[in-house]
């Protein structure tokens, strides 16, 4: 096995460009999944069965099917319906939608973990529903959801290379392009593998600090 350091040096600028796109997709995808997940959770708690049932079926379906196929679906079908977005936008939305079905479970667990006495106190004070949620329940629930949400951010990071398949030039996409131009596969693919380990290690370090802050 030959390892060529000059190829690594040549690939570095591409790596930075790719990393920027990866992080961009990660941040936007996370934001979408956090918001949509909360929306699903709240919808699942509405009293009407006609809201709960479809939301339950759709989210279950999205969770149990491959992100890659969902990505292809959005990328090829949306233009047929007259909706054209850039590849990155489509990808970010696919990741956000897919992971919202996971974050939804996290929020649900967080809300269920709020002690029953808190609900009872809100009822005793005859707080309106909206205030019960915004002042009593959600602030307590959201504190509990930070660690598991963080895990899904890291999972999303590791799913961003999928965007390569719809022409987004994130890290793996750049590596593939580089290898095809220079006929050197070993270095770029290994380098981005290491980059993924480094970024996810940094992310989990950051999360642990954040958790400690919140617990205090």
């Amino acid at each position: 096995m030959k390892w060529d350091w000059s190829a690594v040096r040549e690939f570095m600028p591409h790596l930075w460009d790719g990393l920027l796109v990866t992080l961009q997709a990660l941040v936007l995808g996370s934001l979408i999944s956090f918001t949509l997940g909360l929306v699903w959770t709240l919808l699942m708690r509405t009293p009407t069965r006609f809201v709960r049932w479809p939301v339950g079926v759709v989210t279950e379906f999205v969770r149990n099917t491959p992100l890659l196929v969902q990505l292809f679906f959005l990328f090829y079908v949306l233009p047929e319906w007259g909706l054209t977005f850039s590849a990155l936008t489509t990808g970010v939305f696919a990741i956000g939608l897919h992971y919202s079905t996971y974050t939804m479970q996290v929020y649900r667990a967080g809300i269920e973990a709020v002690p029953a006495g808190q609900w009872e106190a809100a009822t005793a004070l005859s707080l309106p529903v909206r205030r019960t949620w915004t002042v009593v329940i959600l602030p307590q629930a959201l504190r509990r959801v930070v660690p598991p949400l963080g895990n899904y951010v890291i999972a999303m990071l590791k799913d961003t290379p999928i965007l390569m398949s719809i022409t987004v030039l994130e890290m793996l996409g750049r590596a593939r392009l580089f290898s095809q131009q220079h006929f050197q596969f070993t270095e770029p693919v290994t380098v981005i593998g290491v980059a993924f380990i480094v970024v996810s290690a940094l992310a989990s370090l950051l999360l642990r600090t954040l958790e400690r802050r919140l617990v205090r």
Partner: protein, 242 residues
């Protein structure tokens, strides 16, 4: 869709199922080997197992697949049959996640059980085989069920390297028909059906294993659900979707 195209899709289903079963077997073997190694008394063994987990969990599954498909042949001069290359990449990656499940379940067994084994002067291997694993394995099943569904979704990734699995043959059909919405809906439904079968099977397995060690699954969560509905007045909303 013509019958020929359906045949293509069915071949894709077959490849996906083969890949799923093979990589699930490899992942299970890796999970148990690495997971048990992480509870080993020697520090070096623990460290090596931990290192393995971090590397394979830290990199993306798709990067790993790329590495096995494109770097291995160039770097070492030998190439695997696509099915085995896919099995290797997926099995090793998801095995690292499984190792954490095994480790978690092993450490969750009541310490008194381990001490009981020590008191009866069981060898470490006997303790593991007769005391720890029978109690830990039923606890692992729900997490392994999730992991198996993740693995199923992961198999779609190999299509990027040109292996003729379900996602790949679906793409071919799309190119042939120029008709994306239908074919991708079918694909998603097929994947969902496979995932559904997996969850049902695993639930049955969990029930049997728990009954085997005198635990009744289900009643605990049902009781909790009932209590929540009574005390909070928010109903059992959100239930049903496991």
């Amino acid at each position: 869709m013509t019958t020929g195209l359906w045949k293509l899709v069915l071949e894709g289903v077959w490849t996906t199922v083969q890949l799923l079963v093979l990589s699930a077997l490899l992942a299970t073997a890796v999970s148990f080997a690495v997971g048990i190694a992480r509870t080993h008394r020697l520090r070096t063994v623990r460290f090596l197992a931990g290192f393995y987990t971090e590397v394979f969990r830290g990199t993306s599954a798709l990067v790993m697949i790329f590495w096995v498909f494109f770097v291995l042949p160039v770097a070492f001069g030998w190439q695997l049959v696509p099915l085995w290359a896919g099995t290797l990449a997926l099995g090793l990656t998801y095995g690292a996640y499984g190792a954490e499940i095994v480790r978690g379940a092993l450490t969750a067994v009541d310490p008194a059980q381990r001490e009981g084994g020590v008191a009866l002067s069981f060898t470490p291997w006997q303790r593991l085989r007769l005391i720890l694993l029978p109690q830990a394995v039923p606890e692992m099943i729900p997490s392994f069920c999730n992991l198996l569904v993740e693995l199923l979704k992961g198999t779609a990734l190999v299509s990027i390297t040109g292996m003729g699995d379900l996602a790949f043959s679906g793409n071919l059909v799309r190119l042939a028909l120029q008709e994306s919405a239908h074919i991708y809906t079918y694909l998603l439904l097929i994947y969902f059906a496979i995932a559904f079968v997996i969850t049902r099977l695993m639930r049955g397995l969990e029930k049997r294993l728990k009954a085997g060690i005198g635990k009744d699954p289900g009643t605990e969560s049902a009781a909790r659900e009932l209590k929540r509905a009574r005390t909070t007045g928010v109903g059992a909303a959100g239930g049903g979707v496991a």
